[in-house]
């Protein structure tokens, strides 16, 4: 080839315009290239003789180029995958595929782990975890290495370049092959100035390059040594920091989703509608068309009609089906083709159980002919009969048996069926007391006259439609209630709870040490919290600050769940759904007749009563109320907790300012006892039941003469009597109902402190007074709350256990204990790994100052 080229060049140069026929190689149509290698064209162009100019260049992207760069890089990756698959990829492309594999594998792992998680946040955090890990891998070398190196030395150690083939690579990737020609003299000299390289040394460019190389190699090594520590720590810290934001974002998203459900109720119901009930009923109809409506069948239909509702609804439906599907409203029976055979079999079995001789059994049991003749007689053929009328049939069958006995006795005079012994046994065995259980009557009971005929089918279909609609509506209501008010993590109220609870530690100014010391034992928290409340309540400014902050936080309920109580929309839609279904069920129309499913209707909405001339639903327990109470109970539990805390603070304030009126005229010793007990109760409330009911620090024989006021110092009572007699420990005085009433009065009836009222008015806080009244009456008047007959107003409360539980909410010490433990875990974790991360960053940054040191050339330093 070389020879050919040389020969051509020589000829070409010697003879610039040669004649065509004098050439060794003809140049024919050089504009259109021949397939494969067209030497004529190449020679004519003469382009390949000289190397093509390099197209490599340093990559200098601005932030505005990012989208374009991302698209370009993505296209490159896709091409790399294609080339890899077809076996044409180069090393650079295969390297890119490794990054792609890492991302694909990471995404599939995150997706898998997300399926293990239940809530949107935990699912999202899996992806955030992956993202933060990949981001940390990219951010650490930039923040800790590249940028500091650039700031200190002026050298970008992560400089990228694109080679002539468009492959993007790190400039210092291989220190043995650095494409220095991509940097101009001007650029290198500028970096040299920044590196303080004297201007007048020999081979300045080489010296600068060596310095740059050294800095890059050192930093790349530092990167490799630190990345292993830094990436996981950074990733964990990023996740930790981003969690509250994710929480807030997802909460808003969830609340909007829930509101959409109720605001677009027809669409939501349509989306939720499942034809399960209708389809199941259709299959039952298909299988049992025109079959007798036996108990089992009715039970099955009832169960399917109330699919997704409670067991009581099924019972009610069963009763209604029995009532509505009877002929003329009365239970009637008929005879089927298998009735005779069943009667014979049952009778034989019954007599065998009575241990009678087989010969006797064969003789006395009615034969098929006898029964067929009887059933086809005018009295029974093709007729339906009531339970009473069935008795005639049973008597007739009994008559046959008696006749058979007589015949047997005539045929066997030596061993007859004795009137005193065998005969009564036979007759009693066949008849029995219960209609549904006796051997013969149960056959008739199993063939009711009512059948699953066209009429019955239509009624059932209508009911199925009503129940399907109701189920779809309740599903929407359930979903809405769940998203907003469930106790599960990441639902609206739960987020609100966490938000308020977390902020309490700051409001009460808990120090990290206090949290650390009390985290393992709730009783330690009780003492600490009491101490804090005493201090806060004895300081006017502090009390107002704390109470105001709590009230404002509690009032944020509207921001978090967009409601402060059971929303009217929810109440309206619940009423619509249940009342509508109930109304329809009371009046199912078929063939001009009306069927009332009263039991089911009552179970849904309660019985109808006449109130002021209007027919309304009573307040009896029904599914509609259950649907509403789910939400109201959740509100009650959460609000009670925070209102209880506010009430406790108010009580401490009243003690601190000596303004408890309920104890005014009481002996000092009683005052001290009540205040001590109430203070403790205000903090640990229902920690253990027996503490409230039994032994207390009291004197059974108090000093009734000293009516002076208690002495208060910085919120604490300086007791004169309480605990002064070490021989008296905790005692139980069951007959002293006054003490319990005093405690309840002091805590829940005593008017609020003026400061409290002012803060309430400033922050528009509502509900605490109602809470106090509810606890006072509903818990204070509970039978055997403190002691038998210890009522605050001598009236028994009808509050259920659940209501009492919700009214009490969580006690302040338990609340602070739980929040404290959580806060401790998070902050301890952050502290440890934050310190590791910080220390690593420090060491990495400091290292920069030792990098890039190079001796100036000894000879001829100055040029």
């Amino acid at each position: 080839m070389v020879n050919m080229i040389n020969s051509y060049i020589q000829n070409y140069n010697r003879n610039p315009q040669p004649k065509a026929n004098s050439q060794d190689v003809e140049i024919v149509n050089v504009k259109r290239a021949k397939p494969n290698f067209d030497i004529n064209r190449e020679l004519a162009n003469r382009t390949f003789i000289k190397p093509l100019p390099g197209r490599g260049h340093l990559v200098k992207n601005r932030i505005t180029d990012m989208p374009a760069v991302l698209v370009k890089d993505f296209a490159y990756d896709i091409k790399a995958l294609k080339d890899g698959y077809t076996g044409k990829a180069n090393d650079h492309q295969l390297g890119k595929l490794n990054d792609m594999g890492l991302t694909v594998g990471g995404l599939s792992l995150a997706a898998f782990l997300a399926t293990l998680k239940q809530t949107p946040k935990t699912k999202a955090m899996e992806f955030i975890g992956l993202g933060s890990f990949l981001a940390s891998m990219a951010i650490w070398p930039k923040v800790a290495i590249q940028w500091p190196a650039q700031l200190i030395h002026g050298v970008n150690i992560s400089q990228k370049y694109e080679d002539s083939f468009g492959r993007k690579k790190n400039f210092y990737q291989d220190p043995q092959f650095i494409p220095w020609d991509l940097y101009s003299d001007k650029e290198i000299n500028k970096i040299g100035d920044r590196l303080n390289v004297p201007r007048n040394i020999e081979n300045r460019r080489d010296f600068i390059q060596e310095k740059m190389r050294k800095i890059a190699v050192q930093n790349n090594t530092l990167w490799m040594l630190t990345a292993g520590f830094a990436t996981p720590v950074m990733s964990a810290l990023i996740c930790s920091v981003s969690e509250p934001y994710v929480n807030k974002y997802l909460n808003n998203l969830q609340m909007k989703k829930a509101d959409y459900l109720l605001n677009h109720i027809p669409e939501s119901v349509n989306k939720m509608r499942s034809d399960k009930i209708i389809n199941n009923i259709e299959s039952i109809i298909e299988l049992n068309k025109d079959q007798p409506l036996k108990d089992d069948l009715i039970k099955n239909i009832a169960r399917n009609l109330t699919d997704g509702f409670d067991a009581l609804a099924t019972e009610a439906m069963e009763a209604d089906l029995h009532k509505n599907l009877k002929i003329d409203g009365v239970e009637k029976y008929t005879l089927s083709s298998t009735s005779a055979q069943s009667i014979i079999e049952n009778s034989r079995k019954a007599l065998q159980n009575a241990e009678l001789n087989q010969k006797i059994i064969d003789a006395v049991v009615p034969s098929m002919d006898q029964l067929t003749q009887l059933f086809e007689s005018n009295a029974y053929a093709g007729k339906n009969f009531t339970k009473l009328e069935t008795q005639d049939l049973l008597d007739d069958i009994s008559l046959i048996v008696r006749r058979n006995i007589e015949e047997y006795n005539n045929g066997n005079p030596s061993i007859p069926i004795r009137n005193e012994i065998e005969k009564p046994i036979i007759l009693n065995s066949l008849v029995g007391a219960k209609f549904e259980e006796a051997p013969i009557s149960k056959v008739i009971a199993s063939t009711p006259a009512a059948r699953l005929d066209a009429n019955a089918q239509a009624v059932i279909r209508n009911v199925a439609k009503v129940m399907t609609d109701l189920k779809a509506k309740t599903d929407v209501l359930d979903k809405y209630a769940y998203i907003k008010y469930a106790s599960a993590p990441e639902t609206g109220l739960a987020n609100y709870w966490n938000d308020v609870a977390d902020s309490l530690l700051e409001i009460f100014k808990f120090t990290p040490d206090e949290i650390k010391n009390t985290r393992m034992d709730r009783e330690l928290m009780t003492a600490l919290l009491r101490d804090k409340m005493e201090k806060i309540s004895s300081n006017d400014e502090e009390y107002r600050r704390v109470l105001k902050a709590i009230c404002e936080k509690v009032n944020s309920l509207n921001d978090t769940v967009k409601a402060t109580d059971v929303p009217n929309d929810y109440i309206r839609e619940t009423d619509n759904a249940f009342d509508g279904a109930s109304k329809e069920l009371r009046n199912i129309k078929q063939n001009g007749k009306s069927f009332s499913f009263e039991n089911v209707a009552q179970h849904l909405t309660g019985p109808e009563i006449n109130r002021d001339g209007h027919l309304v639903h009573s307040d009896d327990c029904c599914l509609k109320l259950v649907q509403k109470s789910f939400v109201s109970d959740r509100f009650l539990g959460i609000k009670s907790t925070f209102e209880g805390l506010i009430n406790s603070l108010n009580f401490y304030r009243k003690v601190s300012t000596s303004s408890i009126e309920s104890l005014k005229d009481r002996p000092r010793e009683i005052k001290e006892e009540v205040i001590e007990f109430a203070k403790q109760l205000a903090v640990d409330r229902h920690m253990v039941d027996f503490e409230t009911k039994f032994y207390m620090l009291r004197n059974p024989y108090p000093n009734m003469d000293d009516l002076s006021d208690v002495e208060i110092k910085e919120g604490k009572v300086i007791n004169k009597y309480l605990g002064s007699n070490p021989e008296i420990g905790k005692v139980d005085i069951p007959s002293d109902w006054d003490f319990f009433r005093l405690v309840m009065n002091t805590l829940y009836k005593e008017p609020l402190h003026n400061d409290t009222k002012n803060v309430f008015s400033d922050t528009n806080m509502k509900g605490v007074e109602e809470y106090r009244q509810a606890v006072f009456k509903e818990i204070g008047d509970t039978d055997y709350f403190a002691k038998l007959q210890h009522f605050v107003e001598n009236k028994g409360s009808t509050a259920t256990s659940e209501r009492k539980f919700l009214l009490l909410g969580m006690s302040p010490d338990e609340l602070f204990s739980k929040v404290g433990a959580r806060k401790f875990n998070t902050s301890k974790w952050l502290k440890v790994f934050g310190t590791i991360g910080g220390a690593l960053l420090g060491v990495t940054l400091l290292s920069q100052f030792f990098f890039g040191r190079l001796k100036l050339p000894e000879n001829g330093q100055r040029g």
């Binding site: 890899g84 890492l102 792992l109 782990l113 190699v217 090594t221 040594l225 292993g228 974790w829």
Partner: protein, 341 residues
């Protein structure tokens, strides 16, 4: 100045040792190594030791001999340290209250196991590609060789200027070390023997005149395709490994697990439980929870990994690179005159 160049450790000494007892470097020229488990282990340990000691020292001092191989080898350090760090982060629960600690440690241990399974599955899964390819084509895409690297002396006293690097013959698809794939140089037959074998396995024919030239394009294609499959599929297997480690049944294993191998009975029990739990966890991973998406997730992830492996191997076995069928007329036009010097 001209420095003495040697590939031996020729430090002079005046001890009573025999003169021939010079510590020879294991290799004097680039040498293909057998791809055995023991060799792989030895290479791995050698690389890891260097990555932790020599290479960081060279890198931090900015040595003029620091190169890309050393940088890449040092990539093992963040991998290992990062894994340890992740395990530590997942399991840092010492100051927590007992209840919190129990809940955190259950998840933490499984996540730590996930880190181990990630690495194990990622590295073992590559065998699922390389082994079938080796059996079916005769091309060992992981064939190691020791490269003798000549370095610049760091100082005038530095006479030891060689270092050994462990590479793979087909490491670079653009610069495959074809020379290391030839047989003994004795004669043409033995020289091409390895290529003959590959050509035969690839169905290119027997007794080819130039089996190397015929086989090389196909070998390159095999290397690229299997590298593509490895790069994608190994991460799917790694994800599967983590998925298996995340199964709740591992909690039972951690209750009896011990690494104290000197407590024979306990350790054996622990090992047996590990195997049993592994089986159970794979089953649980595959089945998933009945009531949610997880029911399909395990199957999908495992399915993707298996499918990716099958497609990857199948793709390696199908070739678009058929032997050249070009007519000589396309290259040399008979109607023309050509000058031959």
């Amino acid at each position: 100045m001209i420095l003495p160049i040697t590939n031996r450790n020729s430090s002079l000494n005046f001890s009573a040792k025999e003169q021939n007892e010079e510590n020879k470097l294991p290799y004097t020229h680039d040498t293909v190594l057998k791809n055995t488990f023991s060799n792989r282990m030895r290479i791995g340990i050698d690389k890891l030791t260097n990555a932790m000691t020599v290479y960081p020292a060279k890198g931090l001092s900015g040595s003029k001999n620091a190169n890309f191989y050393e940088f890449l080898t040092m990539g093992m350090v963040p991998y290992l340290v990062g894994s340890g760090m992740l395990m530590a982060i997942f399991n840092y629960n010492k100051p927590f209250s007992p209840f919190d600690k129990k809940a955190a440690s259950s998840l933490g241990r499984r996540l730590a196991l996930g880190v181990v399974f990630y690495a194990v599955a990622k590295s073992l899964s590559k065998l699922l590609i390389t082994q079938p390819v080796k059996w079916m084509t005769g091309v060992d895409t992981e064939q190691p060789y020791a490269k003798v690297q000549y370095e610049l002396p760091e100082s005038v006293n530095d006479t030891d200027i060689t270092s050994i690097e462990y590479h793979k013959v087909p490491e670079s698809t653009e610069f495959v070390r074809w020379d290391l794939m030839y047989g003994p140089d004795d004669n043409a037959k033995t020289r091409n023997e390895p290529y003959d074998k590959i050509a035969k396995k690839l169905g290119l024919g027997n007794n080819l005149n130039d089996s190397d030239q015929e086989a090389k394009p196909r070998i390159r294609e095999i290397i690229i395709k299997s590298a593509t499959a490895k790069n994608i599929v190994s991460y799917l297997w790694a994800a599967t490994g983590v998925g298996i480690a995340m199964q709740e049944c591992w909690d039972k294993f951690f209750n009896v697990a011990t690494l104290k191998f000197w407590q024979g009975k306990k350790f054996t029990k622990s090992a047996v439980t590990f195997v049993k739990t592994l089986g159970e966890s794979i089953k649980d991973f595959y089945k998933g929870d009945k009531n949610c998406m997880n029911k399909y997730a395990g199957k999908a992830l495992l399915g993707a990994a298996v499918l990716g492996t099958i497609v990857g191997v199948a793709n390696v076995m199908t070739s678009s690179n058929k032997p050249s069928k070009l007519d000589s007329a396309d290259v040399i036009e008979k109607s023309r005159k050509y000058v031959v010097n």
